[in-house]
């Protein structure tokens, strides 16, 4: 025996295989048979199970070898995924036996999502059933395309080739409609051990491989190192003098010295070191699927959910996108309810904007006009999130293009992002990103200006119907802050329109948001200079406010809504009645105290 050990260690990587299909089509029997035929059972296990069967007066079944839970043996169905290990000459396998009962779809999904290849079983006698189709569809949504179909129980149809070819033709067509091509259709009898470990004389008309030799032809899943670099921040650690940004590389590669862009904030940082503990050499590069940590040359604020990429290949940042989703929740997926979207390390509230197509996954029939998604079905929907999400299309980078939906406490749905059409806000966001990259930054930091001014720069928007006293209040507030030695400045929307936007006349341009864009960019300049900008413009609607915030990010925006209308429920920071706004001194105090509480105004002892 050699002492270094490593060279003679049989590669113990496990090929992860899932077995799916309709209930009672023989998945557990096949798994039990595979274990038995590859001598993978622990000593005494076969006798132990045979003995239990005898004592309980049941006929022995291979399925009992893996149904560990009492309830499963009693009901004769697999409730949860179970895992079984076996070896061939070529390699080691772990088989995930996924339940075929419709009720246990979430367990089947759990099994299949963790697999790199799949066997889909169809009973020759019963033919293609509900779960045969549903499981096929789910495999496709999970991105699992290394699939072979096993036509089981051939003994029950006297090894009739016509039965086999009929199933093969029908199911090939079904898979083809989803863009999957099965690697092989293997006729077997799991119960009798035919075509499992080796091909057999009972089926002379079949010239393809046995199940075992098919499995050995499958290839191991490789980490997506060839795709653009994606690094969702998992956490930031400060256990010692190092500030380590940790996470897993979801795709691509990265090196020490690379300049990273963090989305959605567009902050930029250069990798100083890649940290690791108990390794011979400190790493200088990191690749897809590695859980790593790095330090940056400059200290910038990043947090969980930010996604680091290279500038040359940026991800999509948006709030609205189209997805394919499957649903496992007890109650329907519906419009008007808020769900949590979990995508990489991001967690964002979201809702359904539109059901584009709802499909009964057992028949693949479209459920016309259905405005909800029931358990076990699939749909194409448009999602909208409350704050922007960083992602890629599933077709481009699978690991950053898939997500789950949480209803209250439970993961109830999974999906992939299929298409995305940039909205007006998305185009603005792109502009901001581009502007931030090329902005010539002053040596004077924002914190330094804040320290001198005694306040952070802030945009105060006073909004409401015309004639409610906004302008008066704004002027009063500007004067009050000025006399407190603060840098206040009244920037009325009209003033920007008169000068900067004088070239825009037509109504059409206004609609395209150019007026708003220019106002935002002017405000951004003042904010950059450290001012408290007060604006009274009511030209802009609520959606425009969202865009304004986007343009001046990361500066703060405080909205003051003057109204007597109790029905108005729009989001704002301070709400004043018309009477309250008229008492300008008290109203200005309310605003001042709010800003103080929010630590926007810290007074002249403001510390960084």
């Amino acid at each position: 025996m050699s002492d270094n050990g490593k060279a003679n260690i049989f590669n113990s990587r496990l090929m992860k295989l899932v077995i799916v299909g309709h209930v009672d089509h023989g998945k557990s029997t096949l798994v039990g048979r595979l274990m038995s035929d590859t001598d993978s059972l622990p000593t005494g296990k076969l006798d132990f199970v045979k003995d239990i069967c005898k004592r309980q007066g049941k006929e022995f079944e291979f399925a009992f070898l893996l149904d560990a839970l009492e309830e499963e043996q009693e009901q004769g169905i697999t409730i949860d995924t179970s895992q079984i290990f076996f070896n061939t000459q070529k390699r080691r396998y772990v088989i995930i036996d996924a339940p075929g009962h419709k009720e246990f779809l979430k367990n089947m999904v759990t099994g299949a999502a963790n697999a790199e290849s799949a066997l889909l079983l169809i009973d020759a006698y019963e033919g293609i059933q509900e779960q045969s189709r549903r499981h096929g569809y789910i495999l496709k949504l999970l991105g699992l395309t290394q699939v072979a179909v096993v036509v089981n129980k051939m003994d029950l149809v006297d090894y009739d080739p016509e039965v086999y070819y009929k199933i093969k033709a029908e199911y090939t067509k079904f898979l083809g409609s989803m863009g999957i091509e099965a690697r092989e259709f293997i006729p077997v009898s799991a119960k009798l051990g035919i075509n499992i470990a080796k091909t057999s004389g009972e089926i002379p008309w079949y010239k393809g491989p046995s199940i075992l030799s098919m499995l050995d032809q499958f290839t191991e899943k490789q980490p997506p190192t060839h795709l653009p670099f994606r690094f969702p921040v998992q956490d930031v650690y400060k256990f010692d003098e190092r500030r380590i940004i940790s996470g897993r590389v979801e795709s691509g590669t990265v090196n020490v010295g690379d300049q990273l862009v963090f989305s959605p904030s567009n902050k930029i940082g250069v990798i100083k070191t890649i940290e690791a503990w108990s390794v011979e050499n400190q790493p200088i590069e990191a690749k897809a699927s590695e859980s790593i940590g790095f330090t940056l040359e400059e200290q910038i604020f990043v947090e969980r959910g930010d996604v680091a990429t290279l500038k040359s290949d940026l991800p999509i940042v948006s709030t609205t996108f189209d997805v394919n989703v499957f649903w496992m929740g007890k109650r329907h997926l519906e419009k008007g309810r808020t769900y949590t979207l979990k995508l990489t390390t991001q967690e964002v509230p979201c809702e359904i904007v539109e059901f584009k197509k709802v499909v009964d996954a057992s028949t693949l029939e479209t459920l016309e006009g259905q405005e909800f998604l029931a358990k076990n079905d699939v749909a194409e929907v448009t999602l909208r999130t409350v704050t922007p999400v960083t992602f890629d299309l599933f077709g481009s980078i699978p690991t950053t293009g898939r997500f789950v939906l949480v209803d209250e406490y439970d993961v109830c749905g999974g999906g992939i992002i299929t298409t995305y059409t940039p909205s007006k806000s998305d185009r603005l966001r792109d502009e901001v990103r581009n502007r931030d990259f090329h902005w010539l930054k002053s040596d004077i930091k924002l914190e330094e200006r804040a320290y001198r001014n005694g306040h952070q720069s802030t945009l105060i928007l006073i909004v409401g119907e015309s004639g409610v006293g906004k302008a008066k209040l704004a002027k009063y507030l500007e004067r009050k802050l000025f006399e407190l030695n603060f840098q206040s400045y009244l920037l009325d929307g009209r003033n920007v329109a008169l000068g900067v936007s004088a070239d825009i006349g037509s109504q059409q341009k206004k609609q395209e948001g150019e007026v708003l864009r220019r106002f935002g960019e002017v405000a951004k300049l003042f904010l950059d200079a450290g001012h408290v900008v007060i604006s009274t413009s009511n030209v802009f609607n609520q959606e425009d406010h969202t865009d304004l915030r986007l343009l001046v990010e990361p500066r703060q925006v405080v909205e003051i809504f003057v109204t007597d209308d109790k029905e108005m429920t729009e989001n704002c920071d301070i709400r004043l009645s018309i009477a309250e706004a008229e008492k300008e001194s008290e109203a200005a105090n309310t605003i001042y105290n709010y800003l103080k509480n929010k630590k926007i105004f810290a007074g002249h002892n403001y510390s960084i």
Partner: protein, 267 residues
């Protein structure tokens, strides 16, 4: 990337998810090979530090060498060790002669219960693996337990694309299993590669016996083995067809012993 790197990266990801999502988190350290690998993985995940307290449930029937090893490495690695005991059951004379399953439940499950309550942990990291025995094969990486510690194995959360169950109703806690996907052989290969100091009860003694799985002295039996070091253990495992926990008496009590124990909160 070889298969050990693949396993290690996945486990580190899970451990970091646990650390981020649970304010009050602990890790169970039984002194055995699996939970010692967990401690090692934590130090990898957190760059030399182990920011998660380690809970050891002392039944007082542990093999004495285990306690010595525990105290030595807790000190050497700077670990925050919390020792839990079911004092009440012990003072009433609980032992395995009252029934192995009764004893396991009282001293281990209830002992753990007491520490969790006292410290208010809502997340607990454990080193169980799917290949150990049938009910563990059905576990999730993030597995909820209700207020009575009970495991509803019939209605488990789906787990896909490393999106785990991290939100839960008050009164429940989550068990986190970062090495669920490893095999016994993987654990030993990793110990070998990383040169992790493992308690020598796992290696063949002068009488030609070693422990393959560690537990309480009265209920854990060594196997015949010539394997004196990590490399020899790996060789032995490649050629064995006997089960890892065959030396653990509580597993053999009756057909569904482990299912019953684990449904009620056993590790």
């Amino acid at each position: 990337m070889d298969h050990l790197d693949e396993l290690e990266n996945q486990s580190i990801f899970i451990m970091r998810e646990a650390y981020k999502n649970f304010k009050n988190l602990a890790m169970l350290w039984s002194i055995g090979k699996d939970s010692t690998v967990l401690v090692w993985l934590a130090r990898k995940a957190f760059f030399g530090h182990c920011p998660i307290p380690l809970v050891h449930i002392d039944t007082t029937y542990k093999i004495p060498a285990m306690i010595k090893y525990r105290d030595e490495f807790a000190k050497k690695w700077g670990l925050n060790l919390v020792v839990g005991k079911n004092e009440k059951a012990l003072s009433e004379g609980m032992n395995h002669e009252k029934g192995r399953l009764v004893c396991c439940e009282a001293l281990k499950t209830m002992g753990l219960h007491a520490v969790m309550e006292q410290e208010g942990y809502t997340g607990l990291i454990l080193g169980i693996r799917r290949d150990e025995e049938g009910t563990r094969a059905k576990e999730r990486y993030f597995s909820p337990r209700d207020k009575n510690f009970e495991w509803n194995f019939k209605d488990q959360p789906p787990e896909l694309w490393d999106q785990f169950k991290t939100s839960f109703t008050p009164d429940t806690h989550i068990r986190i299993h970062p090495i669920l996907h490893w095999t016994e052989l993987n654990v030993w290969e990793y110990i070998h590669r990383e040169k992790i100091p493992i308690i020598d009860l796992y290696f063949s003694n002068s009488e030609g016996k070693r422990y393959r799985s560690l537990g309480c002295a009265p209920c854990t039996f060594p196997i015949d083995s010539k394997a004196k070091n990590v490399v020899e253990v790996i060789e032995e495992l490649k050629n064995t067809t006997s089960a890892e926990r065959s030396g653990r008496a509580q597993d053999q009590e009756n057909t569904y012993a482990m299912q019953k124990l684990r449904a009620r909160g056993y590790m």
